[in-house]
Symmetry: C2
Subunit: 794 residues, 2 copies
């Protein structure tokens, strides 16, 4: 590297370090044009300095290689608590000011950049949507590498650099993410370049990977399928210059190797794949924590220790010694050589900064909505099942959905902007028609007996919900579409990730320069009611509860009751933007209730009265409402309504089905919520409502409690009475069965208790018979197993 280039890089790096420290400390006097006074210091000192200088070194050197190679690159900043570094980089490359014109690249803008950082009404101390170039929330650790892979999939020209902190590297999800290279197609995907940033410490102590011998770390990375390249920086004189040279050499070596791998694989029209899976490069970057910051504070070592994790000089407002030390520290970057009198970066500082969309802060992949194209969707009609009469024929809803997804997959074969993710359950969840048009992505060894595994596949299966979720997030945030199918119970594994994603899209929605991204879609199947052989450990419908706690503008939950409604819901969610959609649907054969047209109309409303299933007389109020949400509860409610019609024909029963569960909320609390008038028109305010719900019954109360008539609501659902048993026994154990629902209606309609006492007893008797039968035979009562809907009333 030429001396001049090295000096330019160092100027950029020093500018970043200055800007990072300035954000943590200064509320005015940003260029230190005056001697520092306590009044220049923020009232509360908040932020994480320790990781910043290392991140800054990466930012500087990525600028260099992007410029030198006209590289299309994004960077995922795993140590996102180093917000000051990433803010500084984007401010310096001009992208921050373009997104936020009041934070211009001059003294006034610098003052604003400093003041707003971690200040009420300002910017978060972690990397967040406010920072251009970012698509990875800083804070919760563990998902950076998965996000980088998600960005790289189907972006053959992209290099997704991923800085992994050594703290983050201790998390399970990150540890598992290293194996993602067995799923990266060098032909159709871009590259991921991990930069393992070892600065040695977490909040209060050392990190595991910084305290094992380098030979052992190399074995680990090779075992993960990578070839390590080492860069080690120290804080002795001359170390910085060497660090620049080594970092430049390592990034060049890594990118050369990536180019070689890709060229080899892409030769002969993509058929150049060699027998051996490539060993992708990875950089191990060792820098002192808090590098270039105060070496000692009050006699205690700070630079190079965990004490520099947050604010290395905490007492600057009160302690003149600390203040002087801060001034010495800030002036050590020689700000007057970096910025002119107006605060504009001098040309040398900007020499390494790339131009236009190549800048890290401006790369369109990091603002994926800019690249997003609507999916070519075939619509549900071609896949809809014919329904002559409700409740007679059965289909496996997810299997039929698989046909529709197969078409989406086929129609995106060239565009490659749609993938399906799941932990080894695509076929188990009956979506196997996908394999008629694509494979499971697989770059590891293959054997003769493997089926539907190939190097270019777009079904992503790995037995890690974290990887599936992280990949999908990265894929969606860089402007593509996807669906994650999971066993319902195990969606909790990614509860925290889902919450962070909701936060991201909600906050990103407040940034007008960020374009909307596709909805993040969950298909929760193999659900609580049909864990016939897996039993209690696989029974948990609570992911919906978790999601519905989040920002209402960003979360949607659908419980389609049958195959045709599932198709309509799936078609809808694949069109949405900036939301998380949770779709709960069964994979087992279950009754068709609605024709394609009825299904479309029903899903459009989200909730509806099924007149044909009840015994209401037009113009008259019903005596009771039987409501349901979810496939199994719908079946039980329809069976209960049929029993009531048969045995108490004079009782006016209304049957209501809810597809879009947020419809139950008041309109003020959720954009899909019902107005008081709507709620009344469906549920009445004064009649008993017996509600059979798919999940925890109290969720319905939590959603509807503000509606008038809530005190008439009686909900049945899953109440942790789980076990290995038959489908019908599960509903009986949880008091969700048709017989119990009939009893509930009898118990709640005034005057019916006496009049229908015999029927109530009969219902109780059948339940007793059921208990004996299932224990003796291990199957359900024939009258339940063979039940079909008896048809409309005469």
């Amino acid at each position: 590297m030429k001396k001049q280039e090295q000096a330019d890089l160092d100027a950029h790096w020093r500018a970043l370090n200055y800007l990072a420290a300035g954000q943590i400390y200064l509320t005015r006097n940003p260029l230190l044009t005056e001697p520092l006074t306590p009044g220049d210091i923020k009232p509360r000192l908040l932020g994480h300095w320790g990781t910043c200088p290392g991140l800054n070194l990466v930012y500087t050197h990525l600028n260099r290689v992007i410029g030198a190679r006209d590289l299309d690159a994004v960077c995922v900043w795993g140590p996102g608590h180093g917000g000051p570094a990433v803010y500084a980089g984007a401010w310096l490359d001009g992208s921050y000011g373009e997104a936020h014109p009041d934070v211009s690249r001059d003294a006034a803008g610098m003052a604003r950049l400093f003041r707003q950082f971690s200040f009420p009404g300002g910017t978060p101390s972690h990397v967040a949507p406010v920072v251009p170039g970012s698509f990875h929330e800083g804070g919760e650790l563990g998902y950076s590498l998965a996000h980088a892979y998600g960005a790289a999939f189907d972006n053959p020209g992209l290099v997704a650099v991923c800085v992994i902190g050594d703290g983050e590297a201790e998390t399970g999800p990150l540890a598992g993410s290293w194996h993602a290279n067995k799923f990266l197609d060098p032909v159709h995907d871009g590259a991921v370049l991990p930069v393992l940033h070892l600065n040695g410490y977490k909040i209060a102590g050392p990190t595991v990977l910084s305290r094992i011998p380098e030979s052992e770390l190399d074995e680990l990375l090779r075992g993960y399928g990578h070839e390590p390249l080492h860069v080690s920086a120290g804080s002795a004189p001359g170390d910085t210059a060497r660090a620049h040279r080594d970092m430049a050499a390592a990034t060049d070596a890594a990118l050369d190797r990536i180019a070689e791998i890709q060229q080899a694989a892409r030769a002969k029209g993509g058929r150049g794949r060699t027998a051996a899976r490539p060993r992708w490069p990875a950089i191990v970057l060792r820098t002192p924590k808090g590098w270039t910051g105060p070496e000692y504070v009050d006699g205690t070592p700070v630079e190079g220790t965990w004490r520099s994790h947050q604010v290395p000089l905490p007492g600057v407002r009160e302690n003149p010694g600390h203040l002087a030390e801060l001034e010495r520290w800030l002036r050590s970057y020689e700000p007057q050589t970096l910025f002119d009198a107006d605060g504009r970066p001098r040309p040398q500082v900007l020499a390494c900064v790339p131009h236009g969309d190549r800048r890290l802060g401006a790369n369109p992949h990091a603002n994926g909505g800019r690249l997003l194209r609507s999916l070519p969707l075939p619509g549900p009609d071609r896949y809809a099942v014919a329904v002559d009469r409700p409740g007679v024929r059965r289909h496996e809803p997810t299997r039929v959905l698989g046909g529709m997804l197969r078409q989406v997959m086929a129609d995106t074969a060239e565009r490659r902007d749609f993938r399906v993710f799941g932990p080894d359950e695509t076929a188990s969840n009956r979506l196997q028609e996908l394999f008629e048009v694509t494979d499971r992505a697989w770059q590891a060894e293959t054997e003769e007996t493997d089926e539907h595994h190939g190097p270019h596949g777009r079904v992503m299966e790995v037995l890690s919900e974290h990887l599936c979720q992280g990949w999908l997030e990265g894929y969606v945030l860089t402007g593509r579409h996807g669906l994650f199918s999971s066993y319902e119970a195990f969606a909790h594994i990614v509860a925290s990730m889902a919450a962070q994603h909701v936060k991201w899209i909600r906050t990103a929605g407040e940034e007008p320069w960020r374009a909307p991204v596709a909805g993040l879609n969950y298909l929760l199947t193999s659900h609580v009611w049909r864990q016939d052989h897996n039993g209690f450990s696989h029974q948990d419908p609570g992911f919906v509860d978790h999601i519905l706690n989040k920002s209402p503008g960003s979360v949607r939950v659908y419980l389609p009751p049958d195959t045709n409604t599932l198709l309509c819901v799936a078609d809808h969610v694949l069109r949405t933007r900036d939301v998380v959609n949770v779709v709960v649907a069964g994979k087992q054969p279950s009754f068709d209730w609605l024709t394609p047209e009825e299904a479309r109309a029903h899903c459009l409303r989200g909730v509806g009265i099924w007149e044909w299933a009840g015994t209401e007389r037009p113009g008259e109020a019903p005596d009771a409402v039987l409501a349901c949400a979810g496939d199994v509860p719908t079946q039980e409610v329809l069976a209960a309504a049929a029993l009531l019609r048969q045995h108490l024909p004079e009782l006016a029963v209304r049957v209501v089905n809810v597809v879009d569960i947020a419809r139950l909320m008041p309109h003020e609390d959720h954009p899909h919520g019902m107005t008081a008038r709507e709620f009344h028109s469906v549920f009445t305010h004064e009649k008993p409502v017996v509600f059979a719900y798919h999940g925890y019954p109290w969720l319905i109360h939590r959603l509807a409690y503000r509606h008038a008539g809530h005190d008439q609501l009686h909900v049945r659902g899953y109440k942790e009475m789980g076990t290995t048993t038959t489908p019908f026994d599960m509903v009986v154990r949880n008091d969700l069965d048709r017989y119990r629902l009939v009893m509930d209606v009898i118990d709640r309609v005034p005057g019916l208790a006496v009049r229908a006492a015999a029927l109530r007893q009969r219902m109780a008797d059948v339940r007793g018979r059921h208990h004996a039968w299932v224990r003796a035979h291990g199957t359900d009562l024939p009258e339940v197993a063979d039940w079909t809907w008896p048809g409309p009333r005469e």
Copy 2:
């Protein structure tokens, strides 16, 4: 190995395979004394065969080495879906029949063992509490290795063997768990022997670790700090004999190495630790999936492929060809040579089985309650803070708690049955007094500047919530005590693990032979209201909602409002058995409200009226109730009550504080729930209740909706209005602040809207003033920052 021993081992292994297959298929004719007929076959064929033969090989060979070395060993079965293997092992070593006398070790018991498996009212298909010797739920994958380490900590004589499936090995938590060897003390802890079981396939495809070159896998394991030992079994003639020899050699080598490591470390009274961290052995066991089962079914390869994952011959009831193939398969184990005419195992089969408590199914560590001793607890009084007057002095609650925990740590220095777990946040969460008596456990390299890291420490810090949780679960389930302190928001990372643990203890509670274990205790701190610099990504109080969805008998949630109540709650939870306790408490300075005596009485009741804070007149009903749960809401309610007293002295306001949040549920729904009479005596049925709650407000409705008077309940809480801001701005943004609460009372007490219109406007004005102030100064209004409780009314 002698020929005879090998034959004995093979007989035991064949017996296990026979018993595993029998569980999946047979409902009668267990010894095949008659030719197999369709009537012998279960009506529903459920279970996972594929992994069983490999697990059986491990069971057999563990029996061998336990006997040969008088080894104290437990085994964690990661592929817990292989329930039939573990049931078979425990039945054969006699422990199953001891726990379940009706499943005796004879023909009748074998028939019952077979029939009950995965049958309604019977046993789950996965490993579960019903199986003696197990302390690891099968089903959700990823936690086996963490559980094994949890068992090994502070059990110097124990070897915790851990079978890791190659599917499970893909999960993040498992991938991160390998590094747990940097935390295992060879002096005071036992050993963990990982057995990575590569059978090559998940449900529908290959596994990553089975499809990378063996050299790469070896690098990976060495990088994790292990020395791999390989055993590879095939299905050709002679392979089985070799597999027995190789497995015996590998287990011997591994145990010899473990003994060497421990002896070296324990020499010189435990000061024999050498400079280098030991490289612990790990076994890599390759066996064909579905080994010894049908090689082909209908012309398709099954043995050695993913098709043997569940039921390899699915059509045996209907398809005579399948039935014949099943009979051939079962008879290939020569059951008549394994069991006598009464179904009792022949002596050769039992030759390798150890005796008494050494049996895997009978080891007391796997039924940890048998070994559990109550903690020596100093009680809260010695640590309680003096409170002359409420709401004047402040303490950091968790810091004071740290003093109490320090004493527990000191008093268990010899017993070593108490540990504190947390992801690098023990000091950040202010529990640092612990470090006066112990260290953070650390076996990796150390440097001069490290503080409180040592080889024998009992504070477990690793930046992985999964590892912390898994370690604690393993530690508690093997009969010890612990506490997991976590940032509140990031508890969601282990939501799924917590749910599985609740399921385990609830189900274990149904097994009378299982002794109760210590409560699993969470301290959630750094909570939603005080993320001043971390902001939105760190704000999430929903873990409580998740836990309260679980079996009510097994979950407890406490929100102590101040330091003295936190001490009482902590003292209580450390005495509990068979529950999960969630304690939410702040670490920032917050007001002391109750004297030690008052705190004890208040915590005993779980909910109470704070007469001194309100304006009720004895014998008269209040006009309104101001209720609170959590430290910050309590402060706001007390401030609101003081404002009301000052400005509307004639208004009778009752102040209620809730510590034990389940008290709000009806008595029928939770053992801590209130009766209707109790609820009425606290909240009234007809007066407006303004409730300030720590978390999502709708949780309070979900808990209380069945109580009369629920429609009078108005709840304020966190509603996702999170950001980086001041403490008081957070409560204002979420409408939980004192001024808003005063307005809420005015809005809800009949007739007050007009009478108190001026006060209401004044409150609104202060809120407006707050908004302007915080944006200008970045601090809270002085009147809020300097507020103290004004004292009791005159």
